[in-house]
């Protein structure tokens, strides 16, 4: 990914409008640590689901998606 370059006047106006819109958004409601722990618990539940699928040694990771 290449580095950012300079702005045009129109671009700056667009960014300012977008930032103003974002500033109107209400702040997150749930405590962040609680959200993070809930997400970790969800991930753990996902891992448990994955572990129920039998995987013979011959099954390799899917890194190509060609016909």
């Amino acid at each position: 990914m290449k580095q950012p370059s300079g702005f045009t006047r129109r671009a700056l106006l667009g960014v300012a409008a977008a930032a103003a819109s974002a500033a109107q958004e209400p702040p997150p409601q749930a405590p962040p640590e609680q959200e993070l722990n809930a997400r970790r618990a969800q991930m753990k539940a996902n891992f448990e689901q994955l572990s129920k699928t039998p995987l013979p040694m011959s099954i390799e990771p899917a890194f190509t998606f060609r016909a």
């Binding site: 960014v15 997150p28 409601q29 994955l50 899917a62």
Partner: protein
């Protein structure tokens, strides 16, 4: 001065091309009219990220010069379009819908933008999106720099995500077509909720160079249009080998409806429970009618089941692991806290903790998903399913919780996991508007083998020849 009215704003690419050839309007008049409309109504739906009026008018005048000299380049010449703000346009902000990237500017175009530019299509703007294309997950429709993208059919409803602005802008007649992206449902969902026709191409068919990465092994870019035919025209322009995309399949696409197999030879797989029990009750009549209409095309039907695999856990693990790796600098810098959605922030942080063993386990099970689809497609050509089981939710509804008063789910899963399953396998899908539920669009999806886009488009085209759901216009879009 040309009379550019609603019929023009809701015309297909083929119809607009005919208008240009018959000199009903010039490319410059078209670009000006669509830019006016995009700037006037785009903010009304929170669909507009950035107007590119000046460059659009310059490009359109070049197109008019070409046309005056008899240089016709194809159906897209002079046709306005817009792209999801996840695609780089040189010298213009590319925000990925997220506050930490609000000042980001690239000095090059995404490959798909260059390819459309070469056809003479006219880029009029960039469209809003869910921040970071949804990341590992998100809870609120408002998780976007522009705020919640409002559905043109009912502004109290969400347009869908993450290609929200692309769905809303096409539905409201702000552009004839748009580009969106899908990692797991981000083209199909807004297409279904907004009543437009959306195509998720086979993984690797369309270059992702210049697009924000969320999941290197699952990201796809595709068209959102007024019809299946328009999707074919746009896909032909954007598909093809690209040395700048390591996942490029090296294949081209030629839209060739004239060579489509006879519909009576096509075997369509379906699960009855998908239409009879899973959809919300208000959506069922339209979806069941659509099923009958597909049947009446003369296709052969066959009941099928998806292999019993943990599709949701797979997509969640893979997207979280890859997405958190992509955005590790954002997470480590602390700027991740500037994102709008608390679930997205937590998901990105937690994703960094996914062990390599779990990611690899998910990728190994993904091989079983691919094998399962190969087996499934040995007996059918196309899978048919509702695109979504409900119409668009209220913009205030948390997206990670079931609706109040939702009925208990049926025991038979049918093909309801086809969005995550199809994305895991990298196979194409086409969403077709098929009616309404309480005044909001609902849609069916056709899903096929890798690189079978022409087959999906030919069935979709046949369906749209016999129905007019794709021609309906939202009441509030005038």
């Amino acid at each position: 001065m040309a009379d550019i009215n609603d019929d023009v704003f809701f015309a297909t690419i083929v119809e607009l091309n005919a208008g240009l050839r018959q000199k009903q309007f010039s490319a410059a008049e078209l670009a000006r009219a669509f830019s006016d409309r995009l700037e006037r109504l785009g903010p009304h739906y929170n669909a507009l990220a950035l107007s590119l009026r000046d460059s659009a008018l310059r490009k359109a005048r070049q197109v008019d010069d070409d046309i005056k000299r008899g240089r016709w380049r194809g159906l897209l010449q002079g046709i306005p379009f817009a792209v999801k703000d996840l695609l780089a346009v040189a010298g213009q902000p590319t925000t990925w819908g997220a506050k930490p990237y609000a000042a980001q500017v690239f000095d090059y175009n995404a490959t798909v933008v260059n390819r459309l530019d070469r056809t003479g299509a006219v880029l009029t703007g960039k469209l809003s999106m869910i921040e970071l294309a949804g990341g590992p997950s998100y809870r609120y429709a408002r998780a976007s720099l522009q705020g919640p993208c409002l559905n043109p059919w009912d502004r109290t409803r969400w347009a869908g995500g993450s290609s929200s602005g692309s769905g809303a802008a096409v539905a409201a007649g702000l552009v004839p077509f748009a580009l969106g992206s899908e990692t797991s449902g981000s083209i199909l969902t807004p297409s279904a909720f907004c009543g437009v026709t959306g195509l998720r191409p086979t993984y690797g068919l369309v270059s992702r160079h210049g697009a924000m990465a969320l999941s290197w092994t699952m990201d796809k870019i595709g068209p959102m249009c007024r019809s299946a035919e328009d999707c074919g025209i746009v896909l032909e322009a954007i598909a093809g080998k690209d040395a700048n995309d390591p996942a490029s399949a090296g294949k081209s696409f030629y839209y060739a409806p004239q060579y489509a197999r006879p519909v009576k030879d096509i075997v369509v797989g379906f699960a009855p429970v998908d239409f009879a029990e899973w959809p919300e009750s208000s959506a069922r009549p339209s979806l069941q009618t659509a099923f009958e209409q597909i049947k009446s095309l003369g296709v052969r039907l066959k009941e099928v089941r998806l292999p019993d695999l943990p599709y949701g856990a797979l997509t969640s693990t893979i997207i979280a692991a890859e997405g958190s790796s992509v955005f590790e600098p954002l997470i480590q810098s602390g700027k991740v806290e500037e994102l709008a959605d608390p679930l997205q922030i937590a998901g990105l942080k937690a994703g960094l903790e996914i062990p390599a063993s779990e990611y690899l386990k998910a990728m190994r099970i993904r091989s079983l998903v691919q094998a399962g689809f190969r087996e499934l497609f040995a007996g059918v050509d196309v899978l048919l399913t509702p695109s979504r089981l409900t119409a668009a939710p209220k913009i205030s509804q948390p997206l990670d919780r079931p609706r109040a008063n939702a009925a208990p789910p049926p025991k038979d899963r049918g093909l309801t996991a086809l969005i995550p399953a199809g994305n895991l396998a990298g196979i194409p899908a086409l969403s077709l508007p098929c009616g309404f539920a309480d005044g909001l669009p609902v849609a069916i999806s056709l899903v096929g083998r890798p690189f079978s886009e022409n087959l999906l488009l030919s069935v979709g085209r046949e369906y749209q020849v016999r129905t007019d759901w794709h021609r309906r216009r939202p009441p509030a879009a005038s």
